[in-house]
């Protein structure tokens, strides 16, 4: 199954049609997907910030932002501009180098992880063999950034906040990886494209969510904890902790932390939809429908429609998950740090291990249904 548009070749050919040499055309192509993805991620963050305000307002029976643009759509932009123009304060006794690099180290790996998110058959920056493993590996860099910013602030609250944040990310990474490992075992591949393809073919019935009912819960809990979303937002619980590792941060550096957390939320939702909800797959197996109607899969209008549908489906699924995450924020009380660690190590980890073991057993017993 190699359907889908070959964007790279079409782009290169059209550029060469203008008389450019192939090497130069390739040079123009290389940064294009990455830039598109960065713009997409940033716009996604703006949308999430707006959604968060609107949904939480609705949950509390308020109106939320409404003056900046229609329905307050421009509110996140206004926030961003405000943060850009704020004074960038570095405390006198802070370590200026580490203080500056810390937020960058938190944000960069998250953006880098967008390498592996597929929006369609060929709509992905790189399809690498170790895709989902790379995502887990990159998300393990963030604790270093948190520790760095906590240490560099030269402040005991920040240092403790940094240590707590790092402990939280480390303890929730293990159940997360084990949940992902069960999926990987069923798909026989670490590549995100293969994982989606293994789920496609039967529409909504083939999605991994039916075969991994425990796994997706573990994954979503651990992903929320990794993003420091609300039941687990201890490192940045502003009202009780002197704001954790970001106590001393102001202006754009503070904004970088929030950007990183929101980009991570969008990314986790995207990866969730890839792993458990069939990625770009439509709930009805569209290939079969096109086949019954007698449309050849290589027809160009069909390919364009499929690509557009793929992007829409991926984004829709992930925004549905983000909606759930925001609702969770207003329904679930915040956990304490010992409850958080207990939940991670004493409940999620054994359950994830058992889930992995059961998946392996089922895979050996029913190779038809569990990807033999």
């Amino acid at each position: 199954m190699t359907s889908g548009i070959d964007l790279q070749n079409s782009f290169l050919q059209s550029l060469q049609g203008f008389g450019l040499p192939p090497g130069l055309a390739k040079l123009f192509w290389i940064p294009l997907p990455s830039i598109l993805m960065i713009i997409g991620a940033t716009v996604g963050v703006l949308v999430v910030v707006w959604l968060e305000r609107k949904i939480s307002a609705a949950a509390q029976q308020r109106i939320g932002p409404e003056y900046a643009g229609p329905l307050g759509v421009l509110q996140p932009v206004a926030d961003g501009i405000k943060l850009v123009f704020k004074e960038d304060v570095v405390p006198a006794k802070a370590d200026p180098w580490l203080f500056t690099i810390g937020p960058v180290l938190v944000v960069l790996p998250v953006f880098l992880s967008y390498l592996i998110v597929p929006f369609g058959q060929n709509l992905v920056i790189t399809d690498i063999n170790v895709g989902i493993f790379l995502w887990i590996a990159l998300s393990s860099i963030a604790p270093i950034g948190l520790l760095m910013s906590g240490y560099a602030s030269n402040n005991k609250y920040s240092l403790l906040g940094g240590l707590r944040a790092a402990a939280q990310s480390i303890s929730y990474e293990i159940p997360l990886s084990l949940a992902v490992l069960a999926i990987v075992m069923m798909s026989n591949s670490l590549s995100t494209i293969d994982i989606v393809e293994q789920q496609s073919g039967y529409g909504i019935l083939g999605w991994n969510i039916w075969r991994q009912p425990v796994g997706f819960l573990i994954f979503w809990i651990a992903a929320l904890a990794e993003c420091e979303r609300l039941p687990f937002d201890l490192p940045e619980a502003e009202e009780e902790l002197v704001a954790g590792y970001q106590t001393e941060y102001a202006g754009m550096k503070f904004a970088l932390f929030y950007l990183g957390s929101y980009v991570n939320l969008v990314l986790s939702a995207l990866v969730f939809s890839v792993l458990y909800l069939g990625g770009w797959d439509f709930p009805i197996p569209l290939e079969n429908v096109a086949d019954w109607l007698g449309v050849v899969p290589t027809t160009s209008w069909l390919q364009v429609i499929m690509a557009a549908l793929g992007i829409t489906m991926t984004v829709l699924k992930s925004y549905f998950l983000i909606f759930i995450a925001i609702l969770l924020r207003w329904t679930v009380p915040r956990v304490r740090i010992d409850q958080l660690l207990n939940l991670g190590w004493k409940f999620l980890l054994p359950v994830a291990l058992a889930n992995l073991l059961i998946t392996a057993g089922l895979k050996l017993t029913f190779p038809m249904a569990f990807g033999g």
Partner: protein
């Protein structure tokens, strides 16, 4: 030299510069926290070199294990052990420095002879591995089975030991007379959990 080779060459130069510079920083800087962060940088750059060598799985594993686990552990250790100690004058200190220098020079000589006598010419027509994961898995379960199993048993032992240490169920009650012998017992008492106090 086409575009791909040029990109590879320049990336290699940058990565090599980063590795050497950061490694020198680890050794030469006096602030131990800087050294720990730079060590993370060294590990990251080495994973970049692995990517250049087409070893994608090793690169990702390097980031996960060394940057994500080892560096963070070192940082935790440094930040939690906050002990400042003034170095006292030791009479025969030059002897220690001299022996360290000798050992370092010996290792350097050994490594440089190894670099010089190894035939670095690789067979460029060798088999190109399409899926490194499958190849690694096959090796793990055929000719490298024993080391693989040994490593997993060792890690399991380490994990069980860590859990037993962390639970602290096995520490006997401290009686009054053997308060001095703390060589084999942990100095702390098992802490009452807040949830268990009611």
């Amino acid at each position: 030299m086409n575009l791909a080779e040029g990109v590879q060459y320049i990336s290699f130069l940058i990565l090599a510069f980063l590795v050497i510079g950061a490694a020198l920083g680890v050794v030469l800087l006096s602030n131990i926290v800087y050294s720990a962060f730079l060590l993370g940088g060294v590990f990251l750059s080495i994973s970049g070199i692995y990517i250049l060598l087409n070893a994608d799985f090793v690169a990702a594993a390097q980031v996960l294990v060394y940057v994500g686990a080892v560096s963070v552990l070192i940082l935790f250790a440094i930040m939690l052990v906050n002990k400042r100690e003034d170095f006292s004058k030791i009479p025969g200190r030059w002897l220690r420095n001299l022996s360290t220098a000798l050992v370092c020079a010996g290792i350097f000589a050994l490594l440089s002879t190894m670099v010089l006598i190894t035939p670095w010419q690789i067979n460029e027509t060798g088999p190109f591995v399409e899926n490194t994961l499958v190849t690694i898995g096959k090796h793990f379960f055929s000719d490298y089975l024993l080391p693989f199993e040994l490593a997993s048993v060792l890690l399991l032992m380490a994990m069980v030991g860590a859990i037993i240490l962390a639970r602290r169920d096995l520490i006997p009650e401290l009686s009054q007379e053997d308060k001095t012998s703390t060589a084999l017992t942990l100095p702390e008492r098992p802490r009452e959990l807040t949830s268990a106090s009611k």
